[in-house]
Subunit: 262 residues, 3 copies
Amino acid sequence: MQPDLLSGPQAADTLQQLHSRAPLVHCMTNDVVQAFSANVLLALGASPAMVTDAGETRQFAAIADALLINTGTLTRPQAQAMMAAIEAARQAAKPWVLDPVAVGALHFRSEFARQILALAPAAIRGNGSEILALAGLSGGGRGVDTMESASAAIPAARALARQTGAVVAVTGETDYVTDGERVLAVPGGDILMTRVVGTGCALSAVVAACCALPGNRLEHVAAACRIMSAAGSQAVTTCRGPGSFVADFLDALYQLDARTLA
Amino acid sequence: MQPDLLSGPQAADTLQQLHSRAPLVHCMTNDVVQAFSANVLLALGASPAMVTDAGETRQFAAIADALLINTGTLTRPQAQAMMAAIEAARQAAKPWVLDPVAVGALHFRSEFARQILALAPAAIRGNGSEILALAGLSGGGRGVDTMESASAAIPAARALARQTGAVVAVTGETDYVTDGERVLAVPGGDILMTRVVGTGCALSAVVAACCALPGNRLEHVAAACRIMSAAGSQAVTTCRGPGSFVADFLDALYQLDARTLA
Amino acid sequence: MQPDLLSGPQAADTLQQLHSRAPLVHCMTNDVVQAFSANVLLALGASPAMVTDAGETRQFAAIADALLINTGTLTRPQAQAMMAAIEAARQAAKPWVLDPVAVGALHFRSEFARQILALAPAAIRGNGSEILALAGLSGGGRGVDTMESASAAIPAARALARQTGAVVAVTGETDYVTDGERVLAVPGGDILMTRVVGTGCALSAVVAACCALPGNRLEHVAAACRIMSAAGSQAVTTCRGPGSFVADFLDALYQLDARTLA
């Protein structure tokens, strides 16, 4: 099956909704990418909040518009707090998104990820190795890096989407987003983005923000990928390396307007 | 009562003292803003240290010149370590400062904040919702964002200052700083600062540094607000968005001299 | 004994090996410098991963090429996880590196650092106060800042190297690196680097990456110092303060080529 391309007007609609609705995203993410993820959401007009105490996560998941679960620096207390937050989000009918960092490569987080897969994630965003591992089709990557191309993981992504009901995004040089039936392709971005920590994790935070929007979830998640790759492609034209890329990327996200995307 | 404006020479005096005394600030702050808070203090010539183990916080609070308590990502072990640090700071006659992030919106941190209010904070820095909640006058904001303007919280800030003995800063488009009697107004800054994570939290770290200086605490805390808003106003004239703002803001803090402020 | 200068071709060889081998570095580092350390490693072509759960650290230390232990925000659970990781690294014959942040000044981390010194670190990187404290010759600095020049700690560094078998780097205005016999001097860098949080901690991450390379460890560790000081010296020629320094420094690391270093 040939993937479709996400249309420009669809991506523009998602961006406009992010700006007008400013979703509040409860980010339970890894220690390394907290500030960058927050700044990416803020640049897009969304609102981040990182609440970590188990009791508070339960309360806050019901206040927030969406919940992000990222396993990058998972610990046992954090896994318990995440579980409480997911349950509260489900009770409040709020979407939650999984970023299965390094799942497949490490046992504890793999077991945790497989356990929460049964709790109806709205979306899952990972690299090829992570999506293959989540779908039960491989043993995972080397640490946080993928050993597989995104396109090689499309069948696994479709199977995972059908199994869980989630929209699944497998990201790489081109990103592929599927609801189990349709597959949308999102090209763009730049290899320099792999030399900056947190671009994938921050994309997952934007995916969570987009899952809080009304409308077609498949297209919203693909639009999240498109928004990030458009800003990345813009930033590489002005930056001089991965250091200036970070500032230029956040500036580009902030300046991105619906007309350009459309 | 009409607020007074902080005078330029007063702000300049505080800045000069920061440069010459280089206070060592023990920051017990949230996971998201650690690096930015440290870089803000370093840009101003102060010295940050983030010590988190309960035993070590007790020891370090006596070594440091001031202690910052920020509830942004409070956990139960962290609350215990903070309590130990506050007690050690008090025994060593070192000032401690409270940044009550999201107090009012979330139960655990609200209870914790009300508990430590009795321990004689030197200063409190929050947004309108947080100060209203701390003063017992409202239920708090939506996550970390305020639902109230700073000016609407001036009466609460004065009441809180009289109740605790702290200098209270309620920050927003204009910042208001009070010791319960006088109110100083500090205009400036820019709306773009709300699109960058940690500007408020970093201000609280600077407030802590300023509480370590001899002299009038009300004026020093207002000067902390003025220093940050002056650098913010400068940075928005050169930046292209929230990404380049961060670098330009730190550069502006570093280059800020007493003459310009005066 | 007069220190030798590290030769340009030696530093160039280390940089080329970093680029071609892309070592995977397991960073167990402090909360403040996680993103910066990761971005420094990525800019040099290495691969960072921050794994923190005790069970996973045991597993991951065997997958990674080197392990970094940084005591900056040490807690008791983290100390246990670090101990598990060090033991796993040793069993897998992978090098581990110690950055003894604020050792000497604070009891818990000092005791922990002295305990793990017996576990054959491949390298140790600290400032003058930290190296003197580790060698048992002084009581340590004031928080994270050194009270001693690097050159004053050369005898302590040599003693520590002989005692532990590690290559010891004591860094400051000039860095000195010793295996207990030879001492290599690495000049360069800039005082502005002390106004940016994490430059020392990130150097330790690069030292860990370099310990994963085959060849002379003394020269590789000195080359790590040289690579960082060369990028720092380059960045200060273009930046306007500590904020723009961060971006310019990462860009300079990324653009650094072997010919320039040689």
